[in-house]
Subunit: 406 residues, 2 copies
Amino acid sequence: MPNYASRMERVRPSAIRELLRLGDDPSITSFGGGYPDPALFPMDDLRPIFDRLLTSDHALSLQYTASNGVPLLREQIAARLTADGMPATADDVLVVSGGQQGLDLAGRLVLDPGDVVVTENPTFLGALIAFNPCEPRYAAVPVDADGMDTDVLEDVLAKHTTGARGRGDSGRVKLLYTIPDFQNPSGVTMSLERRHRLIELANRHDLLVVEDTPYRALRYEGTHQPTLKSLDTEGRVVHLGSFSKILAPGMRLGWALAAPEILAQLGLLKLAADTQCSTLNMAATSGYLAAHDIDAHIAGMCAAYRSKRDTMLETLAATFPAGVTWTRPEGGLFTWVSFSEGFDTGAFMRDHALPRARVAYVPGATFFPVDEEPRHARFSFSNSTPEQIVQGITALGQLLHEQLPG
Amino acid sequence: MPNYASRMERVRPSAIRELLRLGDDPSITSFGGGYPDPALFPMDDLRPIFDRLLTSDHALSLQYTASNGVPLLREQIAARLTADGMPATADDVLVVSGGQQGLDLAGRLVLDPGDVVVTENPTFLGALIAFNPCEPRYAAVPVDADGMDTDVLEDVLAKHTTGARGRGDSGRVKLLYTIPDFQNPSGVTMSLERRHRLIELANRHDLLVVEDTPYRALRYEGTHQPTLKSLDTEGRVVHLGSFSKILAPGMRLGWALAAPEILAQLGLLKLAADTQCSTLNMAATSGYLAAHDIDAHIAGMCAAYRSKRDTMLETLAATFPAGVTWTRPEGGLFTWVSFSEGFDTGAFMRDHALPRARVAYVPGATFFPVDEEPRHARFSFSNSTPEQIVQGITALGQLLHEQLPG
């Protein structure tokens, strides 16, 4: 074996792959993956766009293009960001291969081994997977119904500023990662007051804030909140967005908006990482945005997802035992279900939910960056039919009544 | 400004971006970019494939899929690798976003700051861009008509095994990067004897070998050589390939073939980097491989590129002054032109070629990882018409006759 074997320690297998595989078994009702509903993909609108691009007049759709993304698409994204309270031009936007690449590039830009990343507790597993190769440590700040608890955040930042450092451990907090809207996995949204407070603390402690907003456009009720980027007073927020949940994930397109000096560096890391995104997919997405009203399309998706959410919340209320609680997400794809102390959602899924009810979800332990709590689970309502939601949740409820002391 | 400003030093702007921009000016005859000829993209074959995929029956073409790539495409790639002397199954293949992502992942897998990467001298700028964020040092081994000089390689490796180390400088050679077939930028191909020798030295010095083969299928004459991977006795070669030059770069698809324990780690880094490649583009490429004879398509491309190569070589011979030399590539997209000591191809392009002849190429200095030699240039013949080649080379030849002592 070559001499880099030990170096491989920086990459560890993860539970997400095994879970993704479960989604492939059609006999399982899966509330696991954070997948959008493919029935909502605008296939009939996209087909003629690809058709037109794949003619000899448009052969450049399959050629190399600008590393930071085709100009018209960047312009269209900038217009959408501007409408969302973040004035931007095409030059402020970097097209990335889904939000995941934005996380990877931002992590690589600032993190050295031992640096501290602050996240919500729990947080998106994919972000941990993106940051882990940089070998950071994590400080996890609890969320409640108003999102990340900024009082705890203040304490955590104060502690890391003054505390002792171990060997090979910078202990320096460099990056704060947050999903302010319909957070993954908890489903909660950060209040306006906390958004202001977070920016204040980021300024005081000189942090790079990575704001991840894949679900932002999928609001089903309540008040739209301004993005952290729109409240950013010192150019320290990297705002990430994605077409995965509002158009289709299979084209792998998202965007980063950041201050010019940060965006330029992210762009160079993008060039190093994979040269550019798919020209064809960028051209098609641009064509879709030019020819269709994506906000009307999103409104249709919201109606469908809201109904699925309501079905799931109602069925949970009707069939789950007392003592089990869950969040009421105002948007997005997930609710976060919490059981009493001592309950292990992983063991329950392995021993009961999967073999007896043929139902899957994501055991919550994997979303905790530091201390894994086994008593939670993430339930996604996006990629199941209402019938599957009623049947699956009801079946789980019956098993839970059996297993939990009444 | 946030406190990571100094960290940004790891990413530096590069000449390639400026050069890519030149390609956008239609009044310039550019021999610069390593772009395939878009007239050779099989648009008419791809259009019905995308058409079929973009129907509601195939909505999963736009959904998330397996991080390592859609299974059928991996199987088809494995069959092609097997036919090329590298017995493989779908499980041995990782689909990546073009060869560039393979370079990025391989570098991140093994490199720590100060580690040494051995490359050909000159070498592919994109590889340096991919490795640079890992902050390696480079040792560059000259190429001649038979590719990387393995006698010099042996000396370089011996020196790095025994030499003193500076501070913060592991001095350890971990990775050997090579483009054995129709090398970028020199156009030369590594002889069979040197391939065997390289593997022997990699074994002795415990190196990871990254074999980059984007041009491999584009052979116009001479003897097909076995890949380094096919000669790999200890599972230390990562073989990278790409659909960019044989199908189209705008879909951003390539592959990595490696020993199982290495491939698994590359797969986890891929998951961290961008989750997966475009499902749609993978499905379309798979559909293309199933429905069409890509080898026949490649044979057609080879005929077209061979003719362009011949036109360029003949025009160089007819119009360039004595004392200028160039390689005769048996395949690929480039010839490497060398001028006499003291000549600066960058200055000549800026002062004469661009303003007076409206012709661009890539000044060679940028391809040297250590000591930049200004007296070379890379000329690509792939993305120009025969008329443009004759006109552009002839115009350059006239200017050179003016500028060079006769």
